[in-house]
Amino acid sequence: MIVFAIYALIFITSFVVVKTLARKAMTDYTALKTVTFGDESAVRPNRIASVISVLTIFLLWGAFTGSKLVPSMLHAPGPFMGDASFNYTAEAEGVAPDDATVTVRVFEVGTDVQPPEIAPGSGWAKNDVDTVGAWRSGLIRVDKNDEYGRDVGHTVTAVNGQPIAPGGEVMTEFGRVGMSPKGTLNFEPAKGWQMEPIWLPPPEAVVARLVEIANEGYRDSTLWEHLGWSLFRVIVGFFFGALVGIPLGYAMGLSDWFRGWFDPIVEFMRPVPPLALIPLVIIWAGIGELGKIILLFLAALWIMAIAARAGVSGVAISKVHAAYSLGASKWQIMRHVIVPNSLPEIFTGARVAMGVCWGTVVAAELVAAEKGAGMMIMVASKFQLTDIVIMGIILIGLIGFGIDILMRLAEKALVPWKGRI
């Protein structure tokens, strides 16, 4: 919750600050438009906002994971670490109540720890020591070293002077002391606001993982092999999907028989998410490369067929008529009018198909694979290797984004007339 509040705060403050500072800087045509609210073309992404947005995400990520990349004054309060202590008051049959101190050394999980040394103290209740990992909790059997044990009715009645009963709790400056139904104390050191690395590692840990995996690989394959395999599957699946889908779409756009025959199939298959086909493809083709490529082929096929069909139906009839009365044959009309005219639609379809294929390949690899980006994060998640999972997600996102950019560049180069007719 607090994270969203901070996020919203940064959003609003940077908006106000940037808008007041940058008001005068813009003088181009769009800046001179007086009606911008409602004029979609006048709304261009504010690049300053984009930069701040990305920085904010990393800042929050760093601040709430205690990252070394973020100055420590900006860190959210971390978990308590060091020696915590609290008093307890114990009663036993036939003796007066007595006090003793518990000292708990809270350590960073994964490092070696020695219990603190402490004098036993006076009275029949003796001082206790224990260790608890940060973000964890530990049972503390304070009666163990006391002179009167549970056999003579040892019960803890108060912590730091505040009464406590089974099921109750007392908050101390170091954290929560609870009591189990059986009367055993349970110490939970204060967690602070930061995330534990097993839930969310700091950015530098993710980068370190990236370097490590890039150098040493993961699960018998290098990082590039994992990503390369995912990409390879997408490209092969998309290639065959386009190879079959585009001619199919053309046929559907040009022949009533093809249109009638394939319409029910295409219209039925289109809304079926490719992920729903995974089980069937596994049954039919196994979990190997073939199965994945078939899956991606199917994912791309319908999208490309529909795009090509739309491309054909989008030909202005006057263009076709003009070509006929210039003496073109059917084949020439296909080659010189219908195909080029459908390219914009096909490119749009290809961009969508590539996106869907990339998402599908990762999902398919989550289910079963020996190599691949999805497999990498799936295996890592089983071992709670959150840094690898996050690294994988970031890489998957970057590659998906990269694919889209490449498609857009290709589109610009190959169909410059798109949207200008």
């Binding site: 202005a316 006057s318 263009k319 006929y324 210039l326 003496g327 020439q332 010189h336 005219n341 007339w417």
Partner: protein, 267 residues
């Protein structure tokens, strides 16, 4: 016999709701090679339908078209078409658009280069031949369409409101260009327009059509097209005859429109 004959043409569109529209009824007409015919008429009187049948895009329900002695059965390079707009190929530059016909006929560049470049000169687009068509203005695009049609050397040129989308000034220049090309090339031209002035200026013969069913209402033979060749069209418009013909035709079309309105009000 060289020329275009339209014989007893009728066209009925059957509508999905069971009714039908008689778009053309018993239209007959003979054009000599090299005649320039302009067609006027209220909206929906079947002008586009007539042109589409002559072009071969539609088969008539009755009657036939005969060109140079043989019947028309489909589109062909002998009948070129200039559309109102949007019929250029955006994926080709200006020169490739203009040379489309010869290229499709399998001619080599050496065979068509001279004609195409000459036509680009004539329509004043010599400096734009490498440009993409979507970079041109509307008037330039229509000049490309005209040149593309001429480069294919058709016997008949069919134009459906070719200048309808242009501003008045560009339109006037294009009208002069059409007249000039008509005289120079001796093509048979059918030109549909909504502008009475344009029909008078460009029509050696002028056809006024009437709607429901679409039919020929009145035919004129006019001197203005010949006068307009090589002359300022504004001078032609000052002709007394021109003004009176314009009034006559305008009121004729007005009467038709009113009749349509009256009929729909009754219905």
């Amino acid at each position: 016999m060289r020329g275009l004959t339209i014989e007893n043409l009728s066209m009925r569109f059957d509508l999905p709701d069971g009714g039908s529209v008689q778009a053309l009824k018993d239209v007959s007409l003979t054009l000599q090679q090299g005649e320039l015919l302009s067609v006027l008429g209220p909206s929906g009187c079947g002008k586009t339908t007539l042109l589409n049948i002559v072009a071969g895009f539609l088969a008539p329900t009755e009657g036939q078209i005969v060109l140079n002695g043989h019947p028309v059965t489909g589109p062909d390079a002998e009948r070129g078409m200039v559309f109102q707009q949007g019929a250029l190929f955006e994926w080709m530059d200006v020169r490739s658009n203009v040379s489309f016909g010869p290229r499709m006929a399998g001619k080599k560049e050496a065979e068509w280069a001279q004609t195409v470049d000459h036509l680009l000169d004539v329509v004043g687009l010599r400096d734009f031949k490498e440009k993409a068509v979507y970079e041109l203005s509307g008037g330039m695009q229509q000049r490309v369409a005209l040149a593309r049609c001429l480069a294919n050397d058709p016997d008949v040129i069919l134009m459906d409101e070719p200048l309808g989308a242009l501003d008045a000034l560009t339109r006037e220049k294009m009208q002069s260009l059409v007249l000039k090309l008509w005289k120079e090339t001796g093509k048979t031209i059918i030109l549909i327009t909504h502008s009475v002035e344009e029909a008078l200026l460009l029509g050696e013969r002028l056809l006024v059509m009437a709607p429901r069913p679409g039919r020929i209402h009145t035919e004129y033979r006019l001197p203005f097209a010949d006068l307009g060749v090589g002359q300022d069209l504004r001078e032609v418009k000052k002709h007394l005859d021109f003004a009176s013909k314009r009034e006559e035709i305008l009121s004729m079309i007005w009467d038709m429109e009113e009749e349509i309105m009256g009929r729909t009000e009754e219905a």
